[in-house]
């Protein structure tokens, strides 16, 4: 009889521990990269990269964004912090290939200074996703009306296969600026259904914090 009680107690303890570990892992959030302006009123530079496959566990094949810290380290996260009411200059290095868009509506630049962005130094307002390399991803903050399509690399090129990628790999550099709003957490995400292997492309990395969506935390 005693051994039955012991076995039951051990099994219960194992299940409870597994449940706790699962809950803690689900509640876990990616690290926060914090940017601050060197002086009041000065702009802040935020740098991201998008890669076709992260290359490391737990999901090496998943497409992902990374954020570069002010110290120059690439961090696997999609959560970054900026000061309020400040000009934020974004630079996004896109190392991924692309395709036509499911909805060309997201092929246009909105919500940035002048509703314009630059692609490798050349200003643009719209990307025709049915021409050229298509669109790889978007950087969009819906509540601020910000959306910028990221022009893709040629899918036949020798693309970077594991993050962090460097400028030695084929890359498209997209720059744009916005003004940060008041304090709060602003969701941002990619609107291109780029989760390959998932129904309609919106599962997996598109539905996991730290890959293709995150938060811009604005602080006072």
């Amino acid at each position: 009889m005693a051994w039955k009680v012991t076995v039951t107690a051990v099994l219960f303890a194992i299940c409870a521990a597994a449940a706790v570990i699962l809950i803690v892992s689900l509640l876990g959030t990616p690290p926060v990269v914090s940017y601050s302006s060197s002086a009041p009123g000065q702009s802040v530079n935020v740098t991201l990269q998008s890669v076709g496959s992260y290359g490391s566990p737990p999901h090496p094949t998943w497409v992902s964004y990374l954020v570069r810290s002010p110290q120059g380290q690439w961090v696997h996260t999609t959560v970054f912090q900026v000061p309020e009411h400040t000009r934020i200059n974004f630079t996004i290095y896109n190392y991924d290939s692309g395709s036509p868009l499911r909805n060309q509506q997201i092929g246009q630049v909105t919500g940035t200074y002048g509703n314009v962005a630059t692609l490798n130094g050349k200003p643009f307002r719209v990307v025709n996703s049915n021409a050229g390399n298509g669109v790889a991803h978007t950087f969009s903050i819906p509540s601020l009306g910000v959306s910028v399509p990221l022009y893709a690399n040629n899918g036949n090129a020798n693309l970077c296969a594991a993050a962090p990628c460097t400028l030695k790999s084929p890359v498209q550099v997209i720059r744009f600026s916005i003004t940060s709003p008041g304090p709060g957490d602003y969701r941002w995400q990619c609107f291109v259904p780029c989760g390959l292997g998932f129904l309609f492309g919106n599962g997996g990395p598109m539905s996991t914090l730290g890959y293709m969506g995150g938060f811009m935390k604005v602080v006072a």
């Binding site: 395709s99 909805n103 060309q104 969701r187 995400q189 780029c194 292997g197 129904l199 309609f200």
Partner: protein, 325 residues
């Protein structure tokens, strides 16, 4: 249970005197009188004071209809609520057990009352059947009461000038196409006042639900299907659009605001937006009531793309023959 009963003795009978006293007090008529008076006070108070402020407001004819329906339901419900509460309160006060008194459960008064039971069933049936008829009538007028009527609406508005707006759901936002203004597509939903709107609701991926709460409009957005809902605007103001169908991780963030503006403001906005978005509009597929994306992830083009780089089995919707979407 009293100590006497616990000891196995027979329950204390209700005395003839106490039964007679109960009979002498006409509880039934007293309850009805209190109920009628309170209902007569509460119903008009609700209808005329709170009713005009009930959701979803009066921004459109269908919203006003929904508000009226809600108020009628409340006017019917208030007497029922009062009947239950008054009876409970009356019973607590009048028939509570007193210290040292006889046990209250005994005698014919504790048994069911056929008249009350029949009356309650008849009253409930009449009320529910009335609400069934009323609800059915209100659903079909005006023009489907703001609900999605499917691709071939039965109840169509009489107005000759209807503004069509296409609502496109996609994970995780709504976009809007204005076919009478060159077919531009935007994140903004702006509608003119005093105008009948025909919402053509569809989806590019999973099932969403277009819920413009203050407009009184709610229609499912199904892929490869056009769901039509009507509303006639009658008040200026802003409103919120939410997705009302659990559609994935960011479902909770799938909302945006819209506005009912004057016809002049709408005309200016529409023409300016048409001009501003003209470059992107030229790249959109021709306006259609539905589109046929496929399920192949990033290559799920807006068009039937006739290219199948990932899967031959996951294709969604109509066969992907070549041609404009």
């Amino acid at each position: 249970m009293s100590e006497t009963q616990a000891a196995g003795a027979a329950p204390t009978p209700v005395t003839t005197e106490s039964t007679a006293a109960l009979d002498q007090t006409n509880h039934w008529w007293r309850l009805i009188a209190v109920w009628v008076v309170l209902s007569a006070i509460a119903d008009p108070l609700f209808y005329y004071l709170a009713g005009p402020h009930m959701p979803p407001g009066t921004m459109t004819d269908v919203a006003e209809g929904a508000q009226f329906d809600f108020n009628v339901l409340m006017v019917c419900a208030i007497p029922v609520i009062l009947a239950v509460w008054i009876y409970l309160l009356y019973a607590l006060i009048t028939w509570r057990a007193s210290r040292g008194g006889p046990e209250p459960v005994a005698g014919p008064e504790a048994r069911g009352h056929l008249g009350v039971q029949v009356g309650w069933i008849v009253f409930s049936t009449v009320l529910v059947m009335f609400l069934f008829g009323f609800g059915t009538y209100e659903l079909v007028q005006p023009e489907g009461a703001g609900g999605g009527e499917g691709a071939s609406p039965i109840w169509t508005p009489a107005s000759k000038t209807i503004l069509p707006i296409q609502v496109i759901g996609q994970q995780w936002k709504f976009t809007y196409r204005y076919p009478t203004f060159g077919g531009f597509e935007t994140d903004e939903l702006v509608v003119p006042s005093d105008t009948t709107i025909q919402f053509n609701v569809t989806s590019l991926d999973v099932i969403h639900s277009f819920w413009a709460y203050q407009l009184g409009v709610k229609a499912d957005a199904n892929p490869d299907y056009n769901n039509v809902a009507y509303a006639t605007t009658q008040q200026l103001g802003s409103f919120i659009v939410r997705c009302a169908e659990l559609c994935g991780l960011w479902h909770g963030a799938m909302y945006n605001s819209g506005a009912v503006v004057t016809k002049q403001q709408f005309d200016s906005w529409a023409r300016l937006t048409e001009f501003r978005l003209r470059k992107n509009t030229a790249l959109l597929p021709p306006y259609r009531l539905t589109y046929t994306p496929d399920a192949n992830g990033a290559d799920g083009s807006y068009y039937p793309d006739n290219v199948d780089p990932y899967s031959k089995t996951e294709q969604y919707g109509a066969p992907q023959n070549n041609g404009a979407g």
